[in-house]
């Protein structure tokens, strides 16, 4: 009952006029940013985090604004996947398979409308699932000591392969790089500065927002400088978004199935939204393959991955909020967002800050409704953003990045740091090393280390404490199972080709 009361309270807060207005602004802004060619949702949210802090909003209001931007960016990413065949993030990859063919047939508006409804249903199913299942994890929270937390972080890194779709070894290289960067700063146990080279600016460690904006937004601009691909824009006929609604009704069974598949995929730590959209699409294709034109613009080929992807993104909130394990690239950004607002996800979050959790859930839900409503009349306007030329967009991105980062600490040092991360991101991306695990390493590495050291302090240096409780052994076993299952899955995929 508590859960429902908190959720009702969350909704009551979220529908205050100011908050509704922020949700509207956030969704519109997010959609615009997310649909900027080449910028994509992850980069877009990363860019907006520092700016949002400058509006001086109350925590709840800021959370609603950021969540709306996050959702808007995710949706905006669909626009560029469908109309331009450029997926903004990995989960959107599957949407391009049928979405872009639809757009080429002049049904871009229909595909976008359909994707809006499918996303909405998927996210709604996930929100309900989150409400039902997340509190179950809370009961064991107090049993989590440093050793158990360390096991959780091991699980997060063991499953990092699921966060990105790239090569596993490159993901691990990236994660190690992130962990390495995470050791910079004053060691909070012994107060000894590490890798600070006498710069007081990094005594508190590398600010992950600076790293985030550099790795994503700045490196994108650097890539743009050498790439002229974005300059030729196809002028596709959009058509109306309204047929999407009818089409969504025809795809209702697809959407329902995909929502559930996506949700389950999302709840598994480290499986993430990419797996959600991939599984939904492939299962649907196998299920209906003979009756459909999958790959040539079948509406169900848009509905399935979109519902699956959003349900998975919602499902991924369960391990993210209750265990601190982000399941996808965009959830990792959401984690960064929460941490930057002094909300630390973990087993105790539901107990310590229930109003925050359920406020977030309500905000997610409202953002969804808002997007659905915005989507129908304004899809033409959003699509027009895609035609904005890169020579105009990229300087804007650089400007927003500089202003945003400078306003965080009034320090030119952070600007140099951001540029350094931009160059690092550029090099990594040229090497096809994913950048999300770098941020994850930076985000989670510090706590992983401190929990290990806390455990060591308690046991006077006896390593046995790490596997002395049932919870930690269970977590390690689960991590091992996931790794083996992942390898097996890859092997099966290879065999079937």
């Amino acid at each position: 009952m508590d859960t429902l009361a908190f959720l009702a309270q969350g909704f009551a807060v979220a529908v205050e006029p100011q908050h509704l207005f922020l949700a509207l602004v956030g969704c519109a802004l997010g959609t615009l940013i997310g649909s900027l060619p080449g910028l994509g949702p992850v980069n877009g949210v990363a860019l907006m985090i520092p700016l949002t802090f400058n509006f001086g909003l109350a925590p709840t209001a800021a959370l609603i604004l950021l969540v709306s931007i996050y959702y808007g960016c995710m949706y905006g990413g669909r626009i560029s996947s469908i109309l331009l065949n450029i997926p903004g993030d990995e989960p959107a990859m599957m949407t391009t398979l049928d979405g872009h063919p639809m757009a080429r047939q002049g049904l871009g508006g229909k595909a976008l409308g359909l994707s809006g409804v499918a996303s909405f249903v998927g996210a709604t199913v996930a929100t309900i699932g989150l409400t039902l299942f997340a509190p179950l994890l809370v009961g064991v929270a107090i049993q989590f000591g440093p050793a158990e937390y360390f096991a959780l972080f091991m699980l997060a890194f063991a499953t990092i392969g699921g966060v990105t779709s790239g090569s596993l070894s490159k993901s691990f290289i990236a994660a190690c790089l992130g962990l390495l960067l995470g050791t910079v700063g004053l060691d909070s146990v012994s107060s000894v500065p590490r890798y600070t080279f006498g710069w007081f600016e990094i005594y508190d460690g590398i600010d992950f927002i600076v790293a985030l904006v550099g790795l994503f937004a700045i490196s994108e601009c650097l890539l743009f400088l050498e790439d002229t691909r974005h300059s030729d824009k196809p002028t596709l006929k959009l058509g109306s978004a309204l047929p999407g609604m009818r089409s969504a009704w025809q795809c209702r069974s697809t959407i329902t199935r995909s929502s559930f598949i996506g949700f389950i995929a999302g709840v598994l730590p480290g499986a993430g939204a990419a797996l959600g959209s991939f599984l939904s699409y492939t299962l649907e294709k196998r299920w209906l393959g003979r009756h459909g034109k999958f790959g040539q613009g079948d509406p169900r080929g848009v509905a399935a991955p979109e519902a699956g992807n959003n349900a998975a993104a919602g499902g991924a909130l369960i391990p993210m909020l209750s265990l601190g394990i982000p399941g996808s690239g965009t959830t990792a950004i959401l984690l960064a967002m929460l941490l930057s607002m002094n909300i630390t996800p973990g087993p105790l979050l539901f107990e310590d800050q229930p109003e925050m959790v359920w406020g977030l859930v309500a905000a997610l839900f409202i953002g969804n409704v808002m997007l659905l409503l915005l989507n129908i009349p304004l899809v033409g306007l959003f699509a027009r953003v895609l035609r904005a030329p890169g020579w105009f967009l990229m300087p804007m991105v650089v400007m927003v990045a500089f202003v945003g980062i400078y306003s965080l600490s009034n320090s030119a040092f952070d600007l140099y740091m951001m540029l350094a991360f931009g160059v690092l991101g550029y090099i990594l991306r040229k090497l096809e090393i994913p950048t999300v695990p770098v941020v994850l390493g930076l985000l989670l590495g510090g706590q992983m280390e401190y929990n290990l050291r806390r455990a060591m302090s308690i046991s006077s240096g006896d390593w046995d404490i790490l596997w002395s409780s049932g919870i930690s052994v269970g977590i390690y076993a689960f991590a091992a199972t996931l790794i083996v299952a992942g390898l097996l899955f890859n092997w099966l995929v290879k065999q079937s080709r």
Binding site: N54, P146, L186, S407, S409, N410, R454
Partner: protein, 331 residues
């Protein structure tokens, strides 16, 4: 450059340029117009700057408003270095600090010692507490300290500072007062968490035995009855609702552990300006408004100002250095 640093928001840099020019000439009559919070918005130092800045204005002790500048980094070291090198004679500027900053200086973590700055005043303080779980076997401070001295490695203590931080040091000052030999002090286990709240939660889960932290951080747990307070580290019993908590002094251990909140200014500020700033802060302290703000935020109003405060800071630094040497945090 110093004008630009006044700008809180990148957006507003241009707008502040004009204002900054107007404000940068020292004014004798109305001293304070900027407060540096050496941390991100939202923390304790930020609160100190914002609440005092607002009150200075409300009480019309300053001309116009007091600008709060956040300068995070190095647990205050960035702001310390900046003031020492660029604004040591700026008599319009105050910088928020606390016991945490003092401990950093004592352990050589700042680029300079207490002499680098002029110490203005403390306006209020949080009080250290020693807690155990409500189901713990320890009923009194004596029982806890006995065990600690007889079997130093049997207990795990936790708090929100690192080893050698203030939470750790004030707990060890108690152990010293109870007669623990100096060579054993370093064998008491210390576990650092990100705040008093997480430390208490871990204690309730049975992962650590004792918590040493500030009362303000964990007052909720005391009210809910989840923890037992063995000692508060103040000279006098606390005001309501904590008047029943036993002090260490009343149990025969002459140890206090305040976490005061106060200010310093640059080392080259003239005596006249320094005295004027101390006077302004004392007027603020004497107001009812400050008492209200302090109490609402879990602070006990407590005044030490001018030379008196300067001596207090130096003495505290010596005490911290002594304990730090014994536990091997500094050479």
């Amino acid at each position: 450059m110093s004008i630009l640093k006044r700008a809180r928001h990148g957006f507003a840099a241009a707008a502040f340029l004009g204002a900054g020019l107007a404000l940068s000439s020292p004014s004798q009559a109305l001293p304070i117009d900027e407060c540096i919070a050496p941390a991100d918005p939202g923390g304790g130092w930020d609160f100190t700057c914002r609440s005092v800045g607002k009150l200075l204005r409300d009480l019309e002790l300053v001309d116009g408003s007091v600008q709060v500048t956040n300068m995070p980094g190095g647990v205050g070291a960035v702001a310390f270095a900046n003031v020492a090198s660029e604004r040591s004679d700026d008599s319009d500027l105050i910088v928020a600090t606390s016991t945490v900053g003092m401990t950093q200086i004592a352990q050589g973590q700042y680029p300079g010692g207490a002499d680098t700055m002029r110490w203005l005043a403390m306006l209020g303080t949080d009080v250290g507490v020693i807690l155990v779980d409500d189901e713990s076997e320890y009923q009194t401070l004596d029982e806890l300290l006995d065990d600690m001295i007889n079997e130093p490695d049997s207990l795990a203590m936790a708090g929100s500072s690192g080893a050698g931080g203030w939470d750790h040091i004030r707990a060890l000052m108690l152990a010293k007062a109870a007669g623990m030999p100096a060579d054993q002090i370093s064998s008491v286990k210390w576990v650092q968490f990100d705040g008093g709240g997480p430390a208490v939660t871990q204690m309730m889960g049975g992962h650590v035995d004792v918590v040493s932290t500030d009362l303000g951080e964990i007052a909720g747990f005391i009210e809910s009855g989840d923890v037992r307070v063995l000692a508060v580290l103040s000279e006098e019993p606390l005001p309501e609702p904590f008047e029943d908590l036993p002090t260490a002094t009343s149990q025969g251990y002459d140890v206090t552990g305040y976490n005061w909140r106060g200010f310093y200014t640059g080392g080259d500020v003239s005596d006249d300006d320094y005295n004027a700033m101390v006077e302004t802060l004392q007027t603020l302290y004497d107001s009812d408004e400050w008492k209200d703000v302090a109490q609402q935020n879990g602070l006990v109003p407590l005044w030490r100002g001018g030379e008196d405060f300067d001596d207090f800071v130096r003495q505290s630094i010596e005490n911290v250095q002594e304990v730090s040497r014994e536990i091997g945090v500094i050479e």
